[in-house]
C-alpha cells in the first residue's frame, strides 16, 4: 500500500468498502472494477472473498478458490475453512503452526493477515503478533493495533498507530485504527473517535461497523440517549448483528429499561451467535 501512495488506487473503493464494513458494496465494487494488472486482480479477488467471509458466506469462498489459485487466495480460503467449521479448527491451526515454523514468505501479506486472524480467533495473541510483525502493510499494523488493544496495551497500540500515521495518515485504515485507540484511551479522545466514525459514514455510507463504533463512543461518554438512536439505526439494518445486540444489552440497562427488554436481546444473541466471545465469557460465568 505504501508503494501506491501518491497515485490513484484503482481498488480504493473495494478496499474502502471492505474496511468500513460495507461488505455487499465491496462485493459489488469488486465485480465492477476492471483491474489493470494480474496482481491487482488477485488483490481484488482477495478483498472480494474476504467480504464474503465477513458476510459468513463461507461456501462461496470454499467453492470458488481452487487448488491452482494464487497463494494469497489460498490463505483466504484457509481462514474461510477455519471459520466455517468448528471441527476442523484444531487441524487447521496445527497445519498453520507448521507452516509458520518454516520460513514464511513475508511478502505474502495476505497469508500473514489470515494466519494472524486465525491465531487471534484462537486467542493466541502472541502468535498473532509475531505473525503480524513480519508484515509491513497498513492492514498488518491495524491488526497489530487491534490485538494490542485486546491485550489492553494501549501504550504499544499508540506507538504502532504513530507508525501507521507516518505511512499514510489519511488512509481509511489509519483513521479507523485511530478511532480504536482513541476509544481505548478514553476521555476527550472519545469525541475524536466519534467524529472519525461519523465522517466516514457521512462520506461513504453508514455501516454496522461504523454505527457500533459511534455507539461505543457515545456509551463511553455516558451519552445513552444518543447511543440509542445510533443503535436503533444499526438494529434496523440488521436485527441479529451480534455486536449491536451486545451494545443494546448494555444500553437498555443503562437507560433503566425493564430487565425483560435486556433479556430479550440476550436471548436473541444466544439464538444466533452462540460462539460469540461475549457469550463465551458470559456463559463461562453462568456455570
Amino acid at each position: 500500500m505504501a508503494a501506491q501512495q501518491g497515485d490513484v488506487d484503482e481498488l480504493f473503493d473495494v478496499k474502502n468498502a471492505y474496511y468500513i464494513g460495507s461488505y455487499q458494496q465491496c462485493i459489488n465494487e469488486a465485480q465492477k472494477v476492471k483491474p489493470s494488472a494480474p496482481e491487482k486482480e488477485t488483490e481484488r479477488d482477495m478483498f472480494l472473498y474476504r467480504a464474503y467471509i465477513a458476510q459468513r458466506k463461507y461456501a462461496v469462498v470454499l467453492d470458488d478458490i481452487k487448488g491452482n489459485s494464487p497463494p494469497e487466495l489460498q490463505a483466504v480460503k484457509m481462514l474461510a475453512e477455519y471459520l466455517s467449521s468448528d471441527s476442523k479448527r484444531d487441524a487447521i491451526v496445527a497445519d498453520l503452526d507448521q507452516k509458520m515454523a518454516r520460513s514464511v514468505d513475508a511478502s505474502n501479506t495476505t497469508f500473514l493477515l489470515m494466519a494472524a486472524s486465525i491465531y487471534y480467533h484462537e486467542m493466541n495473541t502472541d502468535a498473532a503478533l509475531r505473525t503480524l510483525h513480519q508484515g509491513e502493510s497498513l492492514e498488518c499494523m491495524a491488526m497489530t493495533i487491534q490485538v494490542l488493544l485486546s491485550l489492553d496495551r494501549v501504550d504499544l497500540a499508540r506507538k504502532e498507530l504513530k507508525k501507521m500515521q507516518e505511512q499514510d495518515e489519511d488512509a481509511t485504515l489509519t483513521q479507523l485504527a485511530t478511532a480504536w485507540v482513541n476509544i481505548a484511551v478514553g476521555g476527550e479522545k472519545l469525541q475524536d473517535a466519534y467524529y472519525i466514525f461519523q465522517e466516514m459514514s457521512d462520506k461513504y455510507s453508514s455501516t454496522l461497523l461504523l454505527l457500533n463504533g459511534q455507539a461505543a463512543c457515545y456509551m463511553a461518554q455516558n451519552k445513552w440517549e444518543e447511543a440509542e438512536g445510533v443503535l436503533q439505526e444499526a438494529l434496523d439494518k440488521d436485527s441479529s448483528h451480534p455486536e449491536t445486540l451486545i451494545n443494546l444489552i448494555v444500553l437498555t440497562q443503562h437507560m433503566g429499561k425493564a430487565p425483560e427488554v435486556t433479556n430479550r436481546y440476550l436471548s436473541q444473541l444466544k439464538d444466533v451467535h452462540r460462539a460469540h466471545p461475549f457469550l463465551k465469557d458470559y456463559l463461562a460465568k453462568v456455570t
Binding site: G187, M219, K285, V286
Partner: protein
C-alpha cells in the same frame, strides 16, 4: 472595483441615479438621454429632443421628473412616467454644463458657458436668480445637500461658494411667487442680493471642471485641468485648501465624495478612475480603461453604487463586495459584521457576537467556512491583488460576553481560499493554485496535486469542488482523484442541501442543480444576477437574484416567489420564512408563500393527496398554473382549477374525460365543440355521446351510419323518415338500403323518376305486383323495359342480431387520483410495525434456575500463548496490559464496580463484608445482568473478534488509571419498578410480586447514589420491599395453614392480624384496623387488595360487622397496644424490648431462634451479620 453594469453608446456626459429605483440616467454627446435599469440591465426609455450634446442631467428625489441641459442652451424638464418633456426653460446664452434639482425647494440650478449660474423655479417655470461673478465658463454648480449654499467650478480657475439664503427667505415669505418674477429683473439690475459669493477658492492652476460638497462635513472636493483633485474646508467666515491629491496625468473631469466612507472618487481624461483615502490623501485604488476618457461620475445617494461616463458608454460599479461572509450550521448562522463574528440562533433569533476578529486587513472577509466539530472558522480575505489574499483560522471561544467578546489569536496564512475537508483538516488553495491540506495547527499535512483550478468549494467530508475555467470537478482529497466533472462556467457559490444529497452551483447568471455524484439534474438560466440560495427542508432550492426570491425544483421547474427591493443573501428557508442577511449585514426574516413550489413538488413526487388538498384549500388559481399543469402533462389536475368552460372542455378532451367534456359542451353548445367531442367519444366507443353530438350538429349521414353499425334499426327507420321529410333523396335511399326496405327503395326511385331503376329493383327482389305496375307505366314507344339480370343478388346488410345499447367496453384503467377516491395506502404502514415491539413480558431464560451453589469461575484470563518458548529472536510479544476492568476493581470498594468488572469473587466478598450476604444464588441473575452492561463492543477489522469498550462514569477526568465503571442502575429506575410490583400485588399474584420485590431489594446494594437524600430514599425502598415481602409471604403462608383445630385457628388469626398490620403500616390505614376483630380481618385484607382505593363506606361496614361479633373468646398472641416488629420467618410479633435478630441488608427482624439462618426476605443474607450502617453506596465512597 466590481462592475455591475456596462453600456455601449456615444460619449456619456451626464449621469444621475434614481434614489429608489434601480435606474440610472445617462445623457449623451449625441443628444439622447437614456434611462437604464442597471439591475435588469435593460434600456427602459430614450428621450431624444435635445439638439446637440446633453451635459446636465438629474432625477428629482420625489417626483417622477428629471431635468436636462444641453448645448442647445435649453433646460428641459421631463416626466418619465408620461415619457415626455414637460417644458423647456430658456434663458442661458451658451452651452449648459450641469443641471440639478434642489432637494427641497422647487428649484433647478444650472451652470453655463455664458459664465452665469441660474436658479429656476420649475413650478412657476421661471428663472428666480442669476449668479454672476465667474469670468469664464461655469463647468459645474451644485446645491449643498442641507444648507443654503451653492458650489460652482469654473474655467476661471476658481471654485466659488454662494450663499443663497436670501433667495430662500424671499421665496418663503408669503406671496413670494409674485415678487420672484419681478425679482429677477431686480437682480439683473441692481446686482445680486439674493445670492452672494461667500467664498472664492483659488488654488487650481487651470480651469476647474467639477466641485462638490461633502454630504455631511463642511468639505468641498474639486477636480481641475491641472490634473489635481483638491479638498477644501470652509467655515462661516472663510474657506481654505486642505490638501491635493496628485496622480491623474490628464485633466480631471469629475470628483465626488463617497457618501458613506472616507473616500474620494475622481475620474479623468487619462482614462482612469481613482479612489483616494480622504484622511491620508493617498490613492487607494486605480481602475483604468484602455481607450476611453472619463467625463463624469455619479454616486448613488443610498447604495454603495457609482456610475462613470466615458467616451463609449458608461459603467455602473461598486468599490467592494457587499456580500456578508456567512456560514450556516444546523440552527445556527455565523456571519461577519464590522470586525465581529456573530452567531444567530434561528429558533430563538438570539443574535450574539461570539468573537472579535483580528484587525489589520483593509479588505472585508470574503468567505467563511465553519467547522462544527471543533467550533472553528476559516475566514478568507481577498485582496485586490489576488496573490495577497489571506485566510485566518480561529477557534471560537466557548464562553463569550456578547457585549465585549474575546478577540482570540487567530492563525493567518496566505491563500486564496480555505475550506474544511474534515473535522481536523482543511484545504487551502494557495496563490500558486496548488492545494494544501493543513491541520488545526495550521501546519501543512500534505500537498495534493490537483487539476488546474482557480477556486475551491466545500463538498462534504474528504471532498472538494474544484472550479476551473469551464467546469466544476468533484475531487476526493484522500484518494487524490477526480470523481466527477460537470460543465458550468464560472461558478461563484456552492450550496449543499443539509443531507448533502444535492448541490446547487451558482454562477453569475446560471444555476445548476446536481446530485451528490455531481450529475446535473437541471440547469436554470437567469437574466439577472444570481445572488444566493438555500435548500428548503423538502428539497426545494430557494434562491435570490438581484430582485427576486425564486424557487427551483430538482426537476428543473422554477419560478418567482416574490420580488425584492434590494438584494438579500438567503441563509435558510423554513416553512414560509426566508432567513437572510441584507447588505448592511442585518439578519432579516421574510415571509414567502410556499404554495406554488410545494404544489409543484407534490406533483413531481406524485403526492396527489397533497395536491388535491392544495387544490381545494389554497388560492391557487390563474392561467399560469393551468398552463403549467397542461404543459407538464397533468390536464386532469388542471381540470380542477378551471372555471372557464372552454378551457375546461379542451382540458377534458385532452385527458379523455368524456363526462366532463360533455358537461362543458352542453354549457357551451357550440357546433365545433360537439364535433370535437363526437370525434373523441367515437374513439372511446362512447356511442351514446357520439349520437348526441351528431344529433346536436345535425350530422344526419353520420348519425344514420352510427345507427346502422350499432344495429339500432328503430332509430335508423326514424332517420329515414327524417330524410324523407328533409327531402334528402339520397339520404333517404341510403337509409332504405341500410334497412333492406325494398318497397321503400322502389318508392323512392319511382318518386324521383328513376322508373327503370325502380322497375329493376322491384323485379329483382321479386316484388312482382309492383314490377308489373311499373312496367305498365313505361311508354313502349320511348322506353325500353330493362332486362332483369337473373343472377342479381340481394344487396342488403345482414340484420343485427343484438343491437348495441351500451357503450363499447373500455379497458379498466386504474382511476387517476383526481377522478376517483383517494387510494387506500395501507401498504406503507406495515413495514414499520414490526419494529416497536416492546412490553410483552417474556419468560426469563432457563439457564438461571441452577440450584447448586454458585461455582465461582477463576478470573478469566486470556489463555497463555502456545509458543511461549519459540522465541524467534526478532520479536518479543508483549505481555498483557492492565484492563480498565482490573483497574475498576483496584479503584473501588463497591461491589457493583467489581461485578461490572466481571470479578464476581471479590464482589461477593465485598457484599458479604458489607451487608452480610452469604448465599449468592438469588444474586446470580443480578450479577450476570450487571456484568453484561459493563462492556460495549466495537468492530475492528472485518471478520475478527470485536474490541471491547469500557464505559466509565468518571470518563471525563479519570485519566488512564482512575477509571470507575458506569453503573447503569439508578434509584429512580428501581422506584419505578416498584409500581410493577404493586400491580402484581393488587392483582393477587403474590409469589411473582415477592420475587420482584426481592430483586429490587437485592439491587439496592448495587446502587451508587449521589447524595444523602438518595440514601434515605434507598433505605426507604428497602423498607417498602421488606414489608411487602414479609406481608406477602405471610399471606401465602396463611393460605396454606390448616384450620381444623383451635390452635391452628388461633395461629391463623395471628397471621391474619399481622398481615393486616404489616399492610396497614405500609398503607396508612392503621387506625381503622387496630380495633377490628380478628376473624374478619383477612376478609378485609383481601378486599383491600382487590379494590385498592378503599371506599370508606365499605370499610366502615366491615368494621361495624366485625365489631358486632367481637368476642375475645380465645387468647391470641397479639397485643394491640404494644408496637411490634414481625418475625419474618415465624410471623409472630416481636414486641419492643424483646431480643431480636436483624438482617443487615433488609433490616427484617427474626426471633432469636432463627439466628444464623438465611434471611427469609432477601434469601441472601444471614440474620446476624456485622453491624452495618447502610447498604447503600455513596458515590464518593470508594
Amino acid at each position: 472595483m466590481l462592475t455591475k453594469f456596462e453600456t455601449k453608446s456615444a460619449r456619456v456626459k451626464g449621469l444621475s441615479f434614481h434614489p429608489k429605483r434601480p435606474w440610472v440616467l445617462a445623457s449623451l454627446h449625441n443628444g439622447v438621454i437614456q434611462l437604464w435599469d442597471y439591475r435588469m440591465c435593460t434600456l427602459i426609455d430614450k428621450f431624444d429632443e435635445h439638439d446637440g450634446p446633453v451635459r446636465g442631467i438629474d432625477f428629482h428625489k420625489q417626483q417622477p421628473l428629471f431635468v436636462s441641459g444641453g448645448d442647445d442652451y435649453k433646460i428641459k424638464v421631463w416626466n418619465y412616467k408620461l415619457r415626455r418633456c414637460l417644458f423647456t426653460l430658456l434663458g442661458h446664452l451658451d452651452y449648459i454644463r450641469t443641471t440639478f434639482f434642489h432637494h427641497e425647494y422647487p428649484w433647478i440650478l444650472s451652470a453655463s458657458d455664458d459664465q452665469t449660474i441660474r436658479i429656476w423655479n420649475w413650478q412657476s417655470r421661471t428663472c428666480v436668480c442669476v449668479l454672476t461673478g465667474h469670468n469664464h465658463y461655469v463647468m459645474c454648480a451644485q446645491f449643498h445637500p442641507a444648507e443654503d449654499l451653492v458650489v460652482s467650478a469654473s474655467l476661471d480657475q476658481t471654485v466659488r461658494v454662494w450663499d443663497i439664503s436670501g433667495l430662500r427667505k424671499k421665496n418663503l415669505s408669503p406671496g413670494s411667487v409674485e415678487t420672484d418674477v419681478r425679482g429677477i429683473s431686480g437682480v439683473d439690475l441692481f446686482g445680486a442680493s439674493d445670492a452672494v459669493v461667500k467664498h472664492v477658492l483659488e488654488g487650481h492652476d487651470r480651469g476647474v471642471n467639477w466641485a462638490a460638497f461633502h454630504p455631511t462635513m463642511p468639505l468641498i472636493v474639486s477636480g481641475a485641468d491641472d490634473r489635481q483633485v483638491k479638498i477644501w474646508r470652509m467655515n462661516e467666515s472663510k474657506a481654505w485648501e486642505l490638501d491635493t491629491c496628485r496622480g491623474h496625468y490628464n485633466n480631471v473631469s469629475c470628483a465626488v465624495f463617497h457618501p458613506r466612507q472616507e473616500l474620494i472618487l475622481s475620474n479623468s481624461e487619462d482614462k482612469s478612475i481613482r479612489v483616494w483615502d480622504m484622511s491620508k490623501r493617498t490613492g487607494v485604488q486605480t481602475f483604468r480603461r484602455d481607450h476611453d476618457r472619463f467625463w463624469v461620475l455619479g454616486a448613488h445617494p443610498n447604495l454603495n453604487l457609482f456610475a462613470a461616463g466615458h467616451d463609449s458608454g458608461m459603467i455602473v460599479f461598486k468599490l467592494e463586495r457587499e456580500r456578508p461572509a456567512y456560514a450556516v450550521h444546523g440552527n445556527m448562522l455565523y456571519y461577519v459584521k464590522d470586525r465581529f463574528l456573530r452567531q444567530l440562533d434561528f429558533n430563538s433569533s438570539k443574535d450574539t457576537a461570539v468573537m472579535q476578529l483580528r484587525s489589520g486587513s483593509k479588505f472585508p472577509v470574503f468567505s467563511m467556512s465553519y467547522n462544527p466539530a471543533e467550533n472553528a472558522v476559516l475566514l478568507c480575505t481577498r485582496a485586490t491583488n489576488l496573490e495577497n489574499s489571506t485566510y485566518d483560522l480561529y477557534s471560537i471561544p466557548k464562553e463569550s460576553d456578547s457585549q465585549n467578546p474575546d478577540a482570540p489569536e487567530g492563525k493567518r496564512s496566505s491563500g486564496l481560499t480555505a475550506v474544511w475537508v474534515a473535522r481536523n483538516r482543511f484545504a487551502v488553495l494557495d496563490r500558486m493554485h496548488s492545494l494544501l491540506i493543513k491541520n488545526l495547527k495550521n501546519e501543512i499535512v500534505k500537498k495534493v496535486q490537483v487539476p488546474s483550478c482557480e477556486e475551491i468549494f466545500y463538498a462534504g467530508t474528504g471532498s472538494l469542488l474544484l472550479r476551473d475555467a469551464d467546469g466544476v470537478t468533484l475531487f476526493d482529497v484522500q484518494q487524490k482523484r477526480s470523481l466527477a466533472t460537470v460543465k458550468i462556467a464560472k461558478v461563484k457559490y456552492v450550496v449543499w442541501s443539509s443531507d448533502t444529497s444535492h448541490v446547487a452551483l451558482l454562477a453569475k447568471h446560471a444555476i445548476m442543480i446536481c446530485n451528490r455524484k455531481l450529475e446535473s439534474l437541471c440547469n436554470i438560466h437567469e437574466n439577472i444576477r444570481v445572488k444566493s440560495g438555500a435548500w428548503e427542508e423538502s428539497g426545494v432550492f430557494i434562491y435570490t437574484t438581484s430582485n427576486h426570491i425564486k424557487y427551483a425544483l430538482t426537476s428543473g421547474d422554477h419560478g418567482i416567489i416574490r420580488t425584492l427591493d434590494l438584494p438579500i443573501y438567503v441563509t435558510r428557508v423554513r416553512g414560509n420564512s426566508v432567513y437572510c442577511l441584507d447588505r448592511e449585514c442585518r439578519p432579516r426574516v421574510l415571509t414567502i408563500d410556499p404554495t406554488e413550489y410545494r404544489f409543484k413538488l407534490a406533483l413531481v413526487n406524485r403526492k396527489y393527496d397533497e395536491v388535491l388538498h392544495m387544490v381545494r384549500n389554497a388560492k391557487l388559481v390563474g392561467q399560469s398554473i393551468i398552463a403549467y399543469l397542461q404543459k407538464k402533462g397533468y390536464p386532469e389536475v388542471a381540470l380542477h382549477f378551471v372555471k372557464d368552460e372552454k378551457t375546461r372542455f379542451s382540458l377534458a378532451l385532452e385527458c379523455g374525460n368524456i363526462e366532463v367534456a360533455l358537461e362543458a359542451a352542453k354549457a357551451l353548445d357550440e357546433r365545433s365543440c360537439w364535433e370535437r367531442l363526437g370525434e373523441a367519444a367515437l374513439l372511446q366507443g362512447h356511442h351514446q355521446v357520439v349520437e348526441m353530438c351528431y344529433q346536436r350538429t345535425k350530422n344526419f349521414d353520420k348519425l344514420t351510419f352510427l345507427y346502422l353499425i350499432t344495429g339500432n334499426l328503430a332509430k335508423l327507420r326514424k332517420m329515414m323518415k327524417i330524410a324523407e321529410i328533409r327531402k334528402d333523396m339520397s339520404g333517404h335511399y341510403q337509409a332504405a338500403l341500410y334497412l333492406g326496405d325494398v318497397s321503400e327503395r322502389v318508392r323512392i326511385l319511382k318518386n324521383c323518376g328513376q322508373k327503370s331503376l325502380a322497375y329493376l329493383t322491384a323485379a329483382t327482389h321479386g316484388l312482382d305486383e309492383e314490377a308489373e305496375a311499373l312496367k305498365e307505366t313505361f311508354d313502349p314507344e320511348k322506353d325500353t323495359v330493362p332486362e332483369v339480370d337473373p343472377n342479381a343478388q340481394l344487396l342488403q346488410p345482414s340484420p343485427p342480431i343484438n343491437p348495441l345499447d351500451t357503450n363499447w367496453p373500455l379497458l379498466t384503467v386504474s382511476k387517476g387520483f383526481f377522478e376517483g377516491a383517494i387510494a387506500a395506502k395501507d401498504g406503507f404502514m406495515d413495514a414499520q410495525e414490526g419494529l416497536g415491539e416492546e412490553g410483552g413480558i417474556k419468560e426469563e431464560g432457563g439457564g438461571w434456575e441452577v440450584e447448586e451453589d454458585l461455582d465461582l469461575p477463576p478470573e478469566l484470563d486470556i489463555p497463555a500463548g502456545a509458543g511461549g518458548g519459540a522465541e524467534d529472536g526478532f520479536f518479543v510479544p508483549p505481555t498483557k496490559g492492565m484492563s480498565p476492568a482490573q483497574m475498576w476493581c483496584n479503584n473501588s470498594q463497591l461491589p457493583v464496580d467489581h461485578i461490572l468488572a466481571g470479578s464476581f469473587e471479590t464482589a461477593m466478598r465485598l457484599l458479604h463484608d458489607q451487608v452480610g450476604v452469604v448465599s449468592f444464588i438469588p444474586y446470580k441473575a443480578l450479577f450476570m445482568q450487571t456484568m453484561s452492561r459493563g462492556r460495549t463492543c466495537y468492530l475492528g477489522l472485518p471478520s475478527l473478534p470485536c474490541l471491547r469498550g469500557h464505559p466509565q462514569r468518571n470518563w471525563k477526568d479519570c485519566g488512564a488509571k482512575q477509571g470507575l465503571p458506569a453503573v447503569g442502575l439508578r434509584l429512580s429506575d428501581l422506584i419505578a419498578r416498584l409500581q410493577q410490583c404493586y400491580q402484581l400485588t393488587t392483582s393477587g399474584r403474590f409469589e411473582e410480586a415477592v420475587e420482584r420485590f426481592r430483586v429490587i431489594l437485592l439491587s439496592v446494594p448495587l446502587l451508587v447514589v449521589d447524595n444523602k437524600q438518595e440514601i434515605a430514599e434507598a433505605q426507604q425502598l428497602i423498607t417498602i420491599c421488606r414489608e411487602y415481602i414479609v406481608g406477602l409471604t405471610m399471606e401465602t403462608e396463611r393460605k396454606k395453614l390448616p384450620k381444623e383445630t383451635l390452635d391452628q385457628q388461633k395461629r391463623l388469626c395471628e397471621v391474619n392480624i399481622c398481615v393486616v398490620v404489616i399492610h396497614t403500616s405500609v398503607s396508612f390505614l392503621k387506625l381503622i384496623f387496630l380495633c377490628v376483630c380478628f376473624p374478619y380481618r383477612w376478609l378485609f385484607l383481601i378486599s383491600y387488595h382487590r379494590v385498592k382505593s378503599v371506599p370508606t363506606i365499605q370499610t366502615r361496614k366491615i368494621l361495624s360487622a366485625c365489631e358486632k361479633t367481637l368476642t375475645d373468646a380465645h387468647q391470641l398472641n397479639y397485643d394491640p397496644h404494644n408496637p411490634f416488629d414481625l418475625c419474618a420467618a415465624s410471623f409472630v410479633p416481636l414486641y419492643r424490648g424483646r431480643p431480636v435478630e436483624k438482617c443487615p441488608l433488609s433490616g427484617a427482624c427474626y426471633c432469636p431462634t432463627y439466628k444464623g439462618q438465611i434471611c427469609r426476605v432477601t434469601q441472601v443474607g444471614r440474620d446476624s451479620g456485622p453491624p452495618c450502617t447502610t447498604p447503600v453506596n455513596l458515590k464518593s465512597s470508594s
